[in-house]
Amino acid sequence: MPFLELHGVGRTLTRLDDRPLTILSGIDLSIEQGDRISVVGRSGSGKSTLLNLLGLLDSPTEGEIRLEGLDVSQFSNRRRDLTRGRDIGFVFQQFNLLHGRTALENVSTPLLYERGATFWKRTAIAAEMLERVGLGNRLSSTPVQLSGGEQQRVAVARALVRRPRLILADEPTGALDIETGETVMALLDEIATASNAALVTITHDPSIAARAHRQYTLEDGGLIARDLITPDLISRGPVTRAKLSGCNS
C-alpha cells in the first residue's frame, strides 16, 4: 500500500473580491516508501501549496488525500499534527532554524513532541544525528555561528531525527552555492535511503531534480511527469496534462 496518495486533489483560494483562484487541480500522485520524487515549476505554479498538502499542513478543496489508505480529511486536527510530527519531516529553503538555540537544541526540539524513551534520550539522539550529518563538533553553535551549508545540514538533521517516512524538501539548496547544495542533497539521499524514507524535493534546479527517480513539473495547476512532456503536449492545454499526470502517478 502506498504511504501517501493524492486522488484528484485541487486547491482553490478565494480572492479578496470573492472570485475563486485555482492553484492546483486534478493532482494524482502516489508516494511509496523509498521513492525519490522531484517537482519543478515556475514561481507561483503551486509547488509550495502542493508541499503543504503533502505535509498535511493544508487541506484540499477537491479530491482526497489518503495516508496508508486512510482518508486524511477524516483526521482531527490533533491527529494530523501528531501524524505530521511522527511520519513527515520538513526541510525548508531558508533553513528555518530556531533563533538563539544551539544546533543540538534545534535538532532535539522535534523530539520534545515524542514520548517514552525517545523523549528522555532526546539529547543523545540529536547529538548522534548531528554526528551523522558531520556536525558533531558544532553541537553548541547557534545558527548565526554556522555557515549556510552547516545550517542546512542542521535542518536536515532536525527533519530526520524522528525517522520520518516522508521527507519534504522545499528548495533545500535554494540558499546554497552549487557545491554545498550537492553535498546537502547527497546527505539527504543517503539518510533517506538508510531509513527507507520517501523524499519529495521541490526545486528550481534541474540538476537537483534530476537526482529523483520520478520527476514532475507543475504547470497551470497540473502535475506532469517530466518524461511525458513534449511540444505536442504543451499545445494541448492543462486538462490533458492533468490526465496524463494521473497516468504516471
Partner: protein, 408 residues
C-alpha cells in the same frame, strides 16, 4: 501517563528555553511583576508584624484577651473594707478557677541612691501580672511564687533605675535600699525596659512582700491604697464571669459600694487597628501588580507576533495546537513564577532586615515568623498574573496558520 508526563516536561522545557533565549526581554518585562509581588508580600508580612506590635503594645498596657478589670467605689466616700474585699477577691478566684489575676497598687517608694534618697514610681503586683501584661525582663526574670516568702523582697527594676544603680551584674544579686524608718534591702531579680511614656525610674514589687515591709517604711511615703483588680480569663467565659463577679462583689460589699467589672483588652472592640492602613497599601500593591501584568501582556503580544514563524516551524514538527497553547501559557507562567519567587525572596530579605523590623515592630517581643500565607499569596498571584497575561498570546499563537507562519 508517561506520555502526559513527557508532554508536561516538554512544555516546561520549551517555555524555559524560550525564556533563556529571550532573557533580556523577559527580564525587563518581569521586573514590574517581581516588584509588585515583593511589595504585596511585604505588605502582608509587615502588616502581620505591625499588627503583632500593636497587639503587644495594647496587651502591655491593658492586658491580654480577655482582660477583666474590677473596680470598687464607695458611694459615701468611705474607704472600702480591705479585708472584706480581699476575702471576696480570693473566694472569687477560687470559685471561678481563675489562674491569672493580680491586684495592682501604684506606690511611690523612697530608694537610697549614692547621691541621696529619691522616690521611685513603683507598682505592686501579684506574680501573674507578668504573664497578663506581657512583661518580659530584658535581663534576669519575672517574679515567681517563691519570691512571695523571701525575707529580702525581690524587685524588678527598669533600665533607667538599673543605670542609676551603675548597671550592676545581675549574677551578683545586686540590692537596693528602700528608705524608711527601718530601711529594707531588696534584691534585684530582673530588669525590664523603661516605659517610653515615663522618664523617671520605675520598679515592680510583689504585693505580699510590700505589705510585710510597708509599716517599716517612712510614714511620709505611705499613701492610701487604691488597688485595681485584674483577671485574665478565656474570652468565651468573659461575659458570664463579668456578670458573676459583679453580683458576687455587690452581694459581699453591700449596696454602698459601686462594683464595676469591665473588659479592657483590645479584642473587646473587635476591630483590626491596622485595617485601614493594610487596605490602603494592599490597594496600591494590587494597582502595581495590574500595571506589571499589563506590561507583561503587552510585551508577550508583541513577542508572539515576532514569533509567528517559530510557532509555524514547531507546528511542522508535529506540535499540536493544544501543545502550542500550553507552551506559550507555560512560558508566561514559568516567567512570572520565577519573578514571583524573586519577589518573595526580596520581600523576605526586606521584612527580615533589622531596619524594617525595628521600624514596624515597635518593640514587639513575639515577632511572627515570615508568614507562609504571604509567600503563598505572592506566588499564587504571580502565577495568576502569568496565566492571565499568557492567555491572550496563547490564543493568538493557536490561531496562526501553519503555512503562513512558516513563510512569515
Amino acid at each position: 501517563m508517561t506520555g502526559l508526563l513527557a508532554a508536561c516536561v516538554g512544555s516546561v522545557i520549551e517555555a524555559w528555553t524560550e525564556l533563556r533565549v529571550h532573557r533580556t526581554r523577559v527580564l525587563l518585562s518581569l521586573i514590574g511583576v517581581a516588584v509588585a509581588v515583593c511589595s504585596l508580600t511585604s505588605v502582608v508580612a509587615l502588616g502581620d508584624i505591625a499588627q503583632q506590635a500593636t497587639i503587644e503594645s495594647s496587651e502591655r498596657s491593658n492586658g491580654r484577651p480577655a482582660a477583666l478589670s474590677l473596680s470598687l467605689q464607695s458611694q459615701d466616700d468611705q474607704p472600702t473594707d480591705d479585708a472584706l474585699v480581699q476575702t471576696a477577691w480570693t473566694e472569687a478566684l477560687t470559685r471561678y478557677d481563675v489562674t491569672f489575676a493580680s491586684r495592682i497598687i501604684p506606690r511611690q517608694v523612697d530608694v537610697q541612691f549614692v547621691d541621696g534618697v529619691a522616690a521611685v514610681t513603683s507598682t505592686m503586683v501579684d506574680p501573674a501580672y507578668g504573664a497578663m501584661h506581657r512583661v518580659s525582663p530584658e535581663h534576669g526574670r519575672w517574679f515567681t511564687a517563691t519570691d512571695i516568702n523571701r525575707l529580702a523582697p525581690a524587685v524588678i527594676i527598669d533600665e533607667r533605675l538599673w543605670a542609676r544603680l551603675g548597671s550592676p551584674d545581675l549574677a551578683l544579686n545586686p540590692t537596693i535600699s528602700l528608705f524608711g524608718v527601718n530601711p529594707v534591702t531588696a534584691v534585684v531579680v530582673g530588669i525590664v525596659k523603661s516605659p517610653p511614656y515615663n522618664l523617671e525610674p520605675t520598679m515592680f514589687m510583689l504585693n505580699a512582700a510590700y505589705s510585710r515591709i510597708e509599716s517599716t517604711l517612712q510614714a511620709a511615703t505611705v499613701q492610701p491604697a487604691h488597688p485595681a483588680y485584674e483577671l485574665w480569663v478565656p474570652p468565651e467565659n468573659a461575659a458570664d464571669l463579668m456578670t458573676h463577679l459583679q453580683s458576687d462583689f455587690t452581694a459581699t460589699l453591700g449596696e454602698g459600694t459601686i462594683v464595676s467589672v469591665n473588659r479592657q483588652d483590645y479584642a473587646a472592640y473587635g476591630q483590626d487597628p491596622n485595617l485601614s492602613l493594610k487596605l490602603l497599601v494592599s490597594g496600591v500593591s494590587v494597582l502595581l501588580l495590574l500595571l506589571g501584568a499589563l506590561g507583561l501582556l503587552n510585551i508577550s503580544l508583541v513577542t508572539i507576533r515576532q514569533r509567528i514563524q517559530e510557532i509555524g516551524i514547531r507546528r511542522s514538527f508535529g506540535a499540536t495546537a493544544a501543545r502550542v497553547f500550553f507552551a506559550v501559557m507555560m512560558e508566561s507562567v514559568v516567567a512570572t513564577v520565577a519573578a514571583g519567587i524573586v519577589g518573595v525572596m526580596l520581600s523576605m530579605l526586606l521584612v527580615k532586615s533589622p531596619w524594617a523590623t525595628d521600624l514596624v515592630s515597635q518593640g514587639a517581643t513575639d515577632l511572627p515568623p515570615f508568614p507562609l500565607e504571604a509567600a503563598v499569596l505572592g506566588l499564587g498571584i504571580a502565577t495568576l498574573v502569568g496565566a492571565l497575561a499568557g492567555l491572550l498570546p496563547a490564543l493568538v499563537a493557536v490561531r496562526v496558520k501553519v503555512i503562513d507562519a512558516i513563510r512569515y
